[in-house]
Every structure is written in C-alpha cells, then in structure tokens.
C-alpha cells in the first residue's frame, strides 16, 4: 500500500504535495471552485483570465520583492516605483521613436537606478532596508507630485497599449510577459550561483560574507532587480489602465509583500521560492475580486481585505521558530 511512498519518485511527489507553494495553489483552486458555485460568471474562462491578468501586475512587483525578502531585506518603495514608472513613461517617450521602445527602456533604466540607490543605502551606508526604502518612497512621492502634479497622464505609447490590451493566441500580453519573467526569475533563483548567494545572504549574511560571497554587489543587484520588475509592472499597469496618475501604484505594496509571504517565503529571509509567490499573487487578486462582488463601502472593503489576508496568513504563513 505505502510502497509508492518509499520510492524515490514517491518521496519527491510527497515533498511537492507538502510544500508551501503547492498549498497556495490548492487554496487558489478551492477558492475558485467555491466562488464559481456561489457566484455565476466567476468561473467563466474570461473572468479567470482577467484575474490572472490582474495578478500579473502583482506578480511582477512581487518578483523583485521575493528576491529582496529572500536576501534578508524588504522593499517598501515598490508602490512608489510603480507609480514613478506609470507616470513618467509618457514624459520620457521620445517623439522621434514611433515604436515607443526607447521610452520603455528609459523608464526601466530609471526605475532600476532607483532600486540601485536603495541597494547603495542598504549595502554601503548600512541603513536598515525598511528605513531606506520607506524614505525612498517618501522622497519619490514628493518628487512625483512636483513632476506630474495632480493630473493624470495618458499612455500614447503603442508598445504599452499593446501590452495592456493585446491577446496573442487568446492570452493577454501581460500574462505572457509574466510567464516570461517567471521563467527568468525561477531560473536565476534556483539554478544559478547568484541565486544560491541570495539564499545564503538571507540566512546568515555574516557567514555568507566570510565564505566569500560578494555581499555588497549582490545586495545592489537584488534591489536593482526589484526596481526593474516594479518598473515593468508600472508599464503594464499603465497599459491596462490607459492612464497613469499619482497613487496608481499604492495597492501593490501590501499586495507584493502578502503574495511573497502567502507563497511560503520567510519574511526573515533565506528560505522561499518565487514558485509560491505566483499562486500567492493570483490568490490576492481573487480575494480582491470577491470583495468587489460583495459591493461594499470602501471602509468595509478595506476591513475585509485586511482580514482575509490575516486569515490566510494564519492558515499558511506561520514562521517556524528560528534562533
């Protein structure tokens, strides 16, 4: 009866079944099935596809966040960076380039640079990541209001529009982008030396440094990646929204951290995987969609969102005692 459990493949299957990413996938599936019985139209292909499309934005922001958290830090400036990206793209778009690719590249360079500055503060000035990134967020908020004022900007960039609206082979372009990023992120995280260094740094940065891990440059890289993926998310959200405004990135701070933690990554660093963050992101948009279905006041929506996340954390986000 239990022979399969003892075989190599059986044990492997068991490990997967017991893993946190799988648990998160299971929760998503359960919620989807329950919701499609409860609410007509929820389970329709179009609606689920829409959910995954929304999840792509969170997933992109949370990709960088996963790197940072595994490396033992946290990035509280992701929301501001998403806004910076969405608002400054039209400003940086170059009239002479009809494709709009240069504009996107310029924005991504900008947001990566912001991330690198975070990394510099954390690695060289030894500012605690929470302070560094919160201060960066404050700084960017002020800067954004100065640049953009209160008005919304419109996306004229064709690539951005394509990204937000096109559906090659029936799959939204944003989802395709997410799949591509996921493959790159998972490969970097689990199949390169760089990925192994990040895990080592997060578990014990002193021991990592004494083992020869170049801690400064790795920290820089991690925050740079976070700036890059947040910038990418900003481009996508601008395309999906058609408009960018100050505050457009705000929901993605809690969402990115929650997706990381719901996916089983330890907020203390050193343990985790983006493979869990992906279903974590989808779970979050599902919750948001359910709350929207209920059609409550902003106050209730906020309370329900917070409570559901807290409840899910209680279900799956317990930290093992570690010392």
């Amino acid at each position: 009866m239990t022979a399969w459990k003892d075989s190599a493949y059986g044990r492997r299957a068991l490990t997967i079944l017991r893993s946190r990413p799988f648990l998160t996938v299971a929760i998503v599936a359960a919620v989807w099935i329950a919701a499609s019985f409860a609410s007509r139209g929820f389970g329709a292909y179009g609606h689920l596809r829409y959910l995954v499309e929304l999840g792509a934005v969170i997933g992109l922001v949370a990709a960088g966040q996963t790197f940072v958290v595994i490396a033992g830090g946290i990035d509280l400036s992701v929301a501001a960076i998403v806004t910076v990206s969405a608002v400054s793209l039209p400003l940086l778009s170059w009239q002479a380039d009809p494709t709009g690719v240069t504009g996107i590249l310029a924005v991504l360079v900008l947001t990566t640079a912001i991330g690198l500055v975070n990394g510099l503060g954390v690695a060289l000035l030894r500012v605690h990541p929470m302070i560094m990134t919160l201060a960066m967020a404050t700084f960017l908020q002020g800067l954004l209001i100065i640049i953009a004022g209160g008005s919304a900007v419109t996306a004229e960039n064709p690539v951005v529009r394509w990204l937000g609206n096109a559906r090659p082979a029936g799959i939204p372009a944003g989802v395709l982008l997410w799949v591509l990023v996921s493959v790159i992120v998972l490969t970097t995280m689990h199949a390169t030396s760089f990925g192994a260094r990040i895990f080592a740094m997060g578990a014990n940065s002193l021991a990592a440094a004494l083992s020869g891990v170049p801690v400064t440059s790795t920290t820089l890289a991690v925050y740079g990646i976070s700036g890059f993926t947040s910038g990418l998310a900003g481009v996508l959200v601008l395309g999906m929204n058609g408009q960018g405004y100050v505050g457009i990135g705000d929901p993605y701070l809690l969402a990115s951290i929650a997706a990381v933690v719901l996916g089983g990554t330890s907020i203390l660093g050193g343990l985790g995987t983006y493979a869990g963050t992906i279903p974590g992101a989808i779970l979050l948009v599902t919750i948001t969609a359910l709350i929207t279905v209920v059609n409550a006041s902003p106050g209730w929506r906020s309370v329900m969102f917070g409570s559901l996340i807290l409840g899910l954390l209680l279900l799956s986000g317990r930290e093992q005692a570690r010392r």
């Binding site: 302070i131 201060a135 960066m136 700084f139 002020g142 100065i146 701070l253 951290i257 902003p298 906020s302």
Partner: protein, 321 residues
C-alpha cells in the same frame, strides 16, 4: 580588593544605571539642543508662553507615536499600523465626545480601543507566531477600514473646551507628555517593564531566566496601541474634528523618529529617551521647513533625504573606524 560591597555602591544603583543609558544618546542630545537653540534664535516666539505651547503641541503626537513604535522595536517587533491607529483614535474621539458618552467616556473608548487592538495584534504576532511586519500591514487595512466605517468623511466634533485645553495657549500638552514619560519610567522600573529589553534581545535566555517573554511582548503591543490612539485623540482635539485618514504620515514618522533616536531593529537596542529626542529632532525639522516656506511636497522630499542622511551618517562613521 574588598569583597564586601561598599554601602555607597549598594545604596545607589538606580541612578548610575540611568546615567549609563545616557551614554549612547549624548551626541543626539547635543544635536537636538543645538537645533533648539537655532530654532529659538530664528523664531524668538518659542520663548513666549503661547509660542512654547504651540511648539510642544506640534511635537506631542509625534512624541507619542515615536514612543509607541520604540516600545515595539525594543521587543524586536514593529508596527506599520501606527498611522491607522492614530486615525482610528481621532475618529472615535470625534464621534463619541460630543455624544452621550461625554468626554470621559469618549477618552475611555479611545484608550480601550487602543489597548484592545494592540493586545490583539500582540497576541497574533507573539502567540500565533506571524511576522509582525505583515500582521501590522494587514492590520493597517482593517484598522484604517474601521476608521472609514466610523466616519466615512472628515467630520464629528471635539468639545471646544477640550480643544482649548489641549491645543490652546496653555502648555497642557507638555505637562501631559511629562506625565506620560514619568509613567513610562515607572513601568520600566517594574519587572515586566524592564524585561522588555531581555525579551527583545535574548528571548531564549530571558525565558530560561524566568521572564514572561510572551507576556512582556503582548503588553508592549497593548501599550503601543494605547499611545497611538491617544495621539489620535490629541490630533482630533487639535483640528477640532475627526478625519479617517489623518494619521497616514505617522507610520513612517514614528519609525523615523525611533531610528533617529538610536532604536535598533533587532530588539533591545536603544532607549526611550533617545526615541523622544529623535521625535523632537524630526518635529523641529518639520517646523523649520514649514516656517521657511517649503511646500508640503518639498517637505516630503527633504524629509526623505534627511532621514536617510541622519541614519546613514552615524553608521558610516562606525564603518570608517
């Protein structure tokens, strides 16, 4: 080489211990004093009774949230819900104090809400072992949502006499702050209060020594909640009404003030007097920028830069050594 403790040493332990705690914050005190002198020189109004009252009133809520954050950070925790708690305190005060509960009932409601939510947060973090940063981030949505439910848009009222008392031309706010600091000293002189440090820095060792580690940490969350909603009450008295999002800026500022004051993120590092000095420094900087005619937006930018600079420079010097 005498083996008998001298009476002098045995008799006076409390004050030498207190004096020792000043060692780490002397530099900060000097900076704060220099800023105070410069401020008094630039704006001599500070030295009049009403000028002093106004100044301490602008400092008061920041001082409270800095304490609220510092007490958590001393135990190795943190809260990203401080701002939401301030908002909640403000709307509860603004909706109850002119109602049947009266001022006393309203103040009690504010205090109980703060203690209760704080204790509940502490229970979830400590006993259910969820990371504080995520719990309080989710909590900030719940608490902020609750504030919106109580008062969907700015409104409500605070009795005028209370506003006059707390935020008028008397230094009442300063007196209250002194009282709160004295109460804190008293708490820190109890076994539970002092064990905050041990629970934050070396919880395993503290547990083995017989310290109620979980209790000390949950108590810290409860006190932190009380201080935050108390700050909300004061903010409501200042503005004369309630605003469900008025506290938003306090989350960052509370962390910034505590860190400026030398409180570490790892637990057990720093002192409350440092956190208070940090909040005073931050408050001074905000006031100076206001008087120099910075727009609120420019204040944001400058604040971000100053916080990073203030935290980075001492660290940088340490690395250079």
């Amino acid at each position: 080489m005498s083996t008998v403790p001298s009476a002098g040493q045995a008799g006076a332990l409390y004050w030498p211990v207190q004096a020792r705690r000043n060692v780490g914050v002397r530099g900060l005190f000097a900076v704060v004093l220099a800023f105070l002198f410069a401020y008094g020189f630039l704006f001599p109004g500070l030295l009049t009774a009403s000028g002093f009252a106004k100044f301490t009133q602008s400092w008061f809520p920041l001082a409270l949230v800095a304490m609220a954050q510092a007490i958590l950070m001393l135990t190795g925790g943190i809260s990203l819900a401080i701002g939401a708690m301030v908002s909640l305190g403000a709307v509860i005060a603004a909706t109850t104090m002119t109602g049947p509960l009266g001022v006393a009932g309203g103040a009690a409601a504010v205090a109980l809400t703060g203690l209760g939510i704080g204790a509940a947060t502490g229970f979830i973090v400590v006993r259910l072992r969820l990371p504080a940063i995520v719990v309080t981030l989710a909590g900030s949505f719940i608490i902020g949502g609750a504030a919106l439910l109580i008062l969907p848009r700015p409104g409500g009222a605070i009795p005028e006499w209370l506003s006059d008392l707390l935020a008028g031309n008397t230094p009442a706010a300063f007196v209250v702050l002194v009282l709160i600091v004295l109460l804190w000293k008293l708490y820190l002189a109890t076994p539970l209060g002092l064990s905050l440090y041990a629970a934050g820095e070396n919880p395993v060792g503290a547990y083995r020594s017989g310290v109620p580690v979980d209790g000390a940490r949950i108590a810290a969350y409860a006190i932190s909640g009380l201080l935050s909603t108390g700050a909300g009450l004061f903010v409501a008295a200042q503005t004369g009404s309630g605003d469900p999002v008025i506290g938003a800026a306090f989350t960052l500022n509370s962390i910034a003030a505590a860190v400026l004051g030398g409180i570490g993120f790892l637990g057990g590092q720093g002192t409350m007097r440092g956190a208070l000095a940090g909040s005073l420094l931050l408050s001074l900087m905000i006031s100076v920028m206001f008087f120099l005619g910075f727009t609120p937006v420019a204040q944001y930018v400058a604040q971000g830069l100053i916080i990073i600079g203030a935290v980075a420079i001492p660290q940088f010097r340490k690395v250079q050594q």
